[in-house]
């Protein structure tokens, strides 16, 4: 009884301590703008902030970081909707329908709906963290490398439905991304791959510069064709979506939030994969959207946003219970916990349950602040799209250049950005989508290391490798899911062709 009372006290700590409340609020506010500015990543902001929190108490540090994490994951969708430049990888899917909505003058309602569904997803994530952490973490412990490999392949199967045009162009783009993802030193044998003798390339492909180039610079070049188009005035005065709209999309948001939590809880798969999977889920399951997907479907922003914000709660599950990061941000947070003398892993919950319940409470408070700040400052932000393109486009290039430079304070990343930007422009012009390239870069390393570990455990025997998929219930379940997705994908493509 005493334990329960103690846990409830720690859960409510952030809500009762004004300083912790302020830090969480500041984190969410700051995070929304970090997430919304293309080129600034939550990982970078959290990494920089960790250096400020060395001397703070662990609760204060965790409160600020959790706020930034939630704000950043949510904030990425704002720039995705308004200027078609996802502020964070988790917002890539939101841009697919969010930007067409902005072009229809519906940016205000789109941001309002993403806020409501994001907050809803966030609360589902926190609830799942509190209730299901022990169950899901024990399941993740059973995962073998072949299961992680199947997870990566599952993500790559989305390429087909994300490519939007010719399937072969989508497959090419995905494979190109995987190839970029393998640049650098091999994680298992330290053999150099595609480094061409360059020391800088041994650290891998400049992923952030690639993302900024492919999504930022290439979009600017595409927009140069549309300079004479009249600027669409955004209806940002109508932010609050109607109750009818919320009620209509709540079942989809619920499903996608749970999907986000599950994907977030799987180590290595964060909000970006969760959002893409949720978008794909919406495309496959929603029969009659008001507008087609890719042309401003409300379902196309509800699904990824609920999943992305929901995945934050999920990402905390393996981090707190197993000491395994759910994504790049939780990897940095693990570093922060070590700095504060804590050792994340199974013993953390046994030895310091108060920390777990404090985190759960603090994440819930972050969702409350997200609901408040999500509806603030949108008018100011939306005015960006009303600025003439002759001023806006060069400013996006400067922001992209600063974002690329900030990765390592190295101008080489700007060259990469420009290279990827021009390549992305031609890819887009000739019908190739750049989303699968980024998806391939994200999933490439996961696929690489786990495929090879699985092959080594099968003694490099392809027959044994295939047989091992049928030896564990987890692998069988994943294989079943994978086959189902591939089969439904083919069926979907045929329907689209008709």
């Amino acid at each position: 009884m005493n334990d329960i009372l103690m846990n409830v006290t720690y859960f409510g700590m952030s809500f009762l301590d004004p300083y912790l409340m302020f830090l969480t609020a500041a984190g969410v506010f700051f995070g929304i703008y970090v997430g919304a500015i293309p080129g600034l990543s939550v990982t970078m902001a959290v990494s920089i902030l960790i250096s400020f929190t060395f001397k703070w108490g662990v609760n204060e540090a965790l409160a600020l970081i959790a706020g930034i994490y939630y704000g950043g994951v949510y904030g990425g969708s704002r720039s995705a909707i308004l200027i078609n430049v996802p502020g964070a990888p988790a917002a890539i899917a939101s841009a697919l329908d969010g930007y067409p909505l902005a072009r229809l003058g519906e940016a205000g309602r789109a941001i309002g709906l993403t806020t409501v569904m994001g907050v809803f997803g966030g609360f589902i994530g926190v609830l799942c963290l509190a209730v299901g952490a022990p169950m899901l973490s024990s399941l993740a412990l059973l995962f073998a490398p072949r299961d992680f490999m199947m997870l990566a392949v599952w993500g790559l199967l989305l390429v087909g439905s994300l490519s939007g045009g010719t399937v072969s162009k989508g497959i090419f783009a995905g494979a190109l991304g995987i190839l970029f993802g393998t640049v650098g030193l091999d994680p298992l044998t330290a053999e150099p791959r595609f480094t061409f003798g360059s020391v800088q390339l041994t650290a891998g492909a400049p992923y952030v510069a690639a993302m900024i180039g492919l999504f930022g610079v290439s979009e600017v070049l595409v927009q140069l064709h549309e300079l004479s188009f009249p600027v669409v005035k955004q209806r940002v005065s109508k932010l609050l979506p109607s109750w009818r709209l919320i009620r209509k999309y709540l079942p989809l948001a619920s499903r996608c939030s749970v999907l986000g939590v599950v994907v977030g809880a799987l180590p290595g798969a964060g909000g970006d994969i969760a959002a893409l999977m949720a978008y794909d889920h919406a495309r496959r399951t929603v029969r009659n959207p008001e507008r087609p997907f890719g042309e401003g479907a409300w379902e196309g922003i509800v699904a990824p946003e609920a999943a992305a914000v929901g995945s934050v709660g999920g990402c905390y599950i393996p981090m707190l219970t197993l000491g395994i990061p759910g994504d790049a941000v939780t990897a940095v947070i693990i570093g922060a916990l070590y700095i504060h003398g804590l050792k994340p892993g199974p013993m953390l919950l046994l030895e310091t349950p108060h920390l777990f319940w404090f985190t759960v409470g603090n994440l819930a408070l972050s969702c409350v602040w997200l609901a408040i700040f999500g509806f603030m400052g949108i008018k100011l932000f939306a005015r960006i799209v009303e600025i003439p393109k002759s001023s806006l486009l060069p400013m996006i290039v400067v922001l992209s250049a600063v974002g690329s430079y900030a990765i390592e304070n190295n101008p080489v990343h700007i060259y990469w950005m420009l290279g990827f930007g021009v390549a992305g422009y031609f890819l887009k012009t000739y019908g190739y989508q750049v989303g699968p390239v980024i998806l391939g870069i994200i999933l490439g390393p996961l696929l690489d290391s786990n495929y090879r570990r699985a092959m080594i455990s099968a003694s490099n025997d392809p027959a044994q490798f295939v047989l091992e998929f049928f030896t564990s219930p987890v692998s069988l379940a994943l294989l079943f899911l994978l086959t189902l997705t591939a089969f439904r994908g083919q069926k979907f493509e045929r329907t689209e062709d008709r």
């Binding site: 791959r193 595609f194 001023s391 400067v398 900030a406 090879r452």
Partner: protein
């Protein structure tokens, strides 16, 4: 009688060349992947790059054959396909914009962030047709100041310093 090929949407200028360039890139990637560790083992360092580049080769071949099955793009009335390419796909505005960006990259370190970015913003705005000079200069200066303050002060990003930054030190 109109053939099935003629009813399809014609290729964009330069599309076939781009797809062929991607095929060549894929073949080069396949060769480079093979050079990592050959076919030494199913779990070698080069196994996934080999697989990915093979998929690229096959898919780009499919794309090239698909492009060949479409009608050729229309040439400019008084010129060549290259002229049509520079009129529709990569017009002069794009070329100048990209060159301005290259110049910005090279000037960033010698001139510093503020001076080079301001020059780039003004030049790019002019290229894009902005003619309200006072409005353009004020808007660019204000946005640049905001970007500098946010990045330099709030995020502690070290930006290249030049004579303008030294004045405020």
């Amino acid at each position: 009688m109109i053939s099935e090929k003629e009813t399809r949407k014609p290729r964009a200028p330069g599309e076939l060349g781009f797809c062929l360039a991607l095929l060549l890139f894929s073949l080069t990637a396949l060769y480079l992947s093979y050079r990592i560790s050959g076919f030494s083992s199913w779990s070698s360092a080069g196994s996934l790059p080999l697989g990915a580049s093979l998929v690229m080769c096959v898919s780009s071949l499919v794309v090239v054959f698909g492009e060949l099955d479409r009608p050729a793009p229309e040439s400019a009335p008084d010129g060549t396909l290259a002229r049509r390419f520079f009129e529709t796909v990569f017009p002069a505005r794009h070329v100048i914009f990209v060159f301005a960006l290259i110049a910005y990259m090279f000037l960033l370190e010698p001139l510093g962030f503020i001076a080079s970015s301001f020059l780039y913003l003004v030049a790019a705005s002019l290229v894009l047709g902005e003619r309200r000079y006072a409005h353009m200069i004020v808007l660019n200066a204000l946005s640049l100041a905001a970007v500098y303050l946010v990045f330099r002060t709030a995020f502690s990003v070290v930006l290249p310093e030049g004579f303008v930054e030294r004045l405020f030190r």
